[in-house]
Structure formats: structure tokens, C-alpha cells
Amino acid sequence: MKMLKASIALAALIISGAAVAGDSPAPKKAYLYIGWPNDGEVIRSNNFKVWFGLRNMGVAPAGVDKPLTGHHHLIVDAPLPPMDQEIPADRNHLHFGKGQTETRITLEPGTHTLQLLLADYNHVPHNPPVVSRKITITVK
């Protein structure tokens, strides 16, 4: 009995360890990037456009379960969230569930980081996760 319990605990540990991404597959050549602004950009307005670049995958609104698609999430001034859970929705994690491919955001003057994370119809990142490089910008 003790042995069984230990095995179950071990199995649970292995399973949770394995869950490093969601269930929706992404092609290896999927490429997500911030098309604008560029890394290091100095922006002279606190309201500016961010354009979402995505190659070899498509955009679909949240709730639409279609293979090799997802919707954009813009992570502002925060590290990447866990890859095996729904992406949080707050001021640091902006969801674009209507299938938008660009946005305008307003940020206080200072240095900020931006990063894109694609996620499936359920807001869970793909497997493997499709993530952009994290860029740093300065708002003057």
C-alpha cells in the first residue's frame, strides 16, 4: 500500500513535470515576432502601435478550435507566464481574442519590455510554445 502510494505520487510528479506546454501542436517553423517597434526603439509618444508578426501559422479568434492557429497575447513588463496554463488576463498580459494582428497601447514614460506569446482557442500556449523575442523600448 505504501509502495502504491509512493508510485502514484511519483507518477503525478512525472506527469506534472511533463506538462510544460499545452495540447495544441505548433509547427517547428512557426515564427512569432514584434514587427514594430524594434528592439531598443525610443518612442516619443506614450501611445503607439504594436504590430504582431507571425509566419507559418494563422490567426483565429479565441474559442475557434482550428489546427495551426492561435491568437496573440502581448506581455508588457512581465516575464513569460507558465506554458501549461491559461495565460492570465491583466494589465501585463493583454489578450487579442478577436483575432487582431496589431494594437495601440499607452505606456508611461520610461523603459518597458514587450513580448508576444501565441495561444490556442483556450488561451493555453502551444506545444512547443510560440514566443517572440523580448524587446526593450523607451517611452520619452
Partner: protein, 142 residues
């Protein structure tokens, strides 16, 4: 009977005249445009990614019925097609039905025009139609 036929014929004749755009509404502030290339760009080799800009609407793959969405079509070296029919699919009318927001384009040397036309789940332009400015690019001879 003859009279019925005449009325029926007249109605059929009127219907296509009315259908100047598809049935899917687009917001008045919807805008589609080229992020890249810009009008007048010279592209050596003629191979490039065209980046599609879209404001105040979303992208959805073809076949997905969702208001305020559609998918991109790139019109190469051709005029805008009729707005009350499915956009043709040929080398001058490239469909991005998988929900792509950019497309790989390869063009031979010469002057070329590019224009974007957004369309709904059934490949019909919206009402009002959402299309970009027609731009001209140049691929120099090698």
C-alpha cells in the same frame, strides 16, 4: 402565366444590381493596409514577405463565421474584383484562408501592383468592402 414570368425575370434582373457588396458588415473605421512593402519600394530579387496591416477588425481562417473578422487576399497585378462575388483564386488573387497576416511573394523583374482585399468566411468582401491602397513596387532586372 406570361405576366408572372415577366415579373420573375424583372426581379432576377434587379437582384444582381443590388448586390454591390457581401452580407458581412464591416465597421466604418476598418482599415487594411501594407505595413511592408511601402508604395514605390524597389525589391532586389523579387522575393519578400508582404506584411498585412489591419485595424479595427480581426483575422479568422476561411470558413469561420465570426462577426468583425475575415481573411486577407493579395491582389497582384490586377484590378479589384467584383465585390458581390467570391474573390477568384488564381495567381493574381492569392487567398490567405489559414488566417495568415503576412505572405511570401515571389515576383519576376518589372513593375508590379499589390493591393489587399479583406473578405468574410465565404471569400466575399464585406459591406462596406475593406481594401487597401493599390501600391506599386519595382523588381530590378538581375
Amino acid at each position: 402565366m406570361n405576366k408572372f414570368f415577366m415579373v420573375a425575370t424583372m426581379l432576377v434582373a434587379l437582384i444582381p444590381g443590388l448586390a454591390i457588396a457581401g452580407d458581412s458588415p464591416a465597421p466604418d473605421n476598418a482599415r487594411v493596409y501594407f505595413l511592408w512593402p511601402k508604395n514605390g519600394t524597389t525589391i532586389k530579387g523579387g522575393k519578400f514577405w508582404a506584411r498585412f496591416g489591419l485595424q479595427n477588425m480581426g483575422v479568422a481562417p476561411a470558413g469561420v463565421v465570426k462577426s468583425g473578422t475575415g481573411h486577407h487576399h493579395l491582389i497582384i497585378d490586377a484590378d479589384l474584383p467584383s465585390f458581390d462575388e467570391e474573390i477568384p483564386a488564381d495567381r493574381n488573387h492569392v487567398h490567405y484562408g489559414k488566417g495568415y497576416s503576412e505572405g511570401r511573394v515571389e515576383l519576376p523583374p518589372g513593375r508590379h501592383t499589390l493591393q489587399l482585399l479583406f473578405a468574410d468566411h465565404g471569400h466575399f468582401p464585406h459591406n462596406p468592402p475593406v481594401y487597401s491602397e493599390k501600391i506599386t513596387i519595382l523588381v530590378p532586372a538581375e
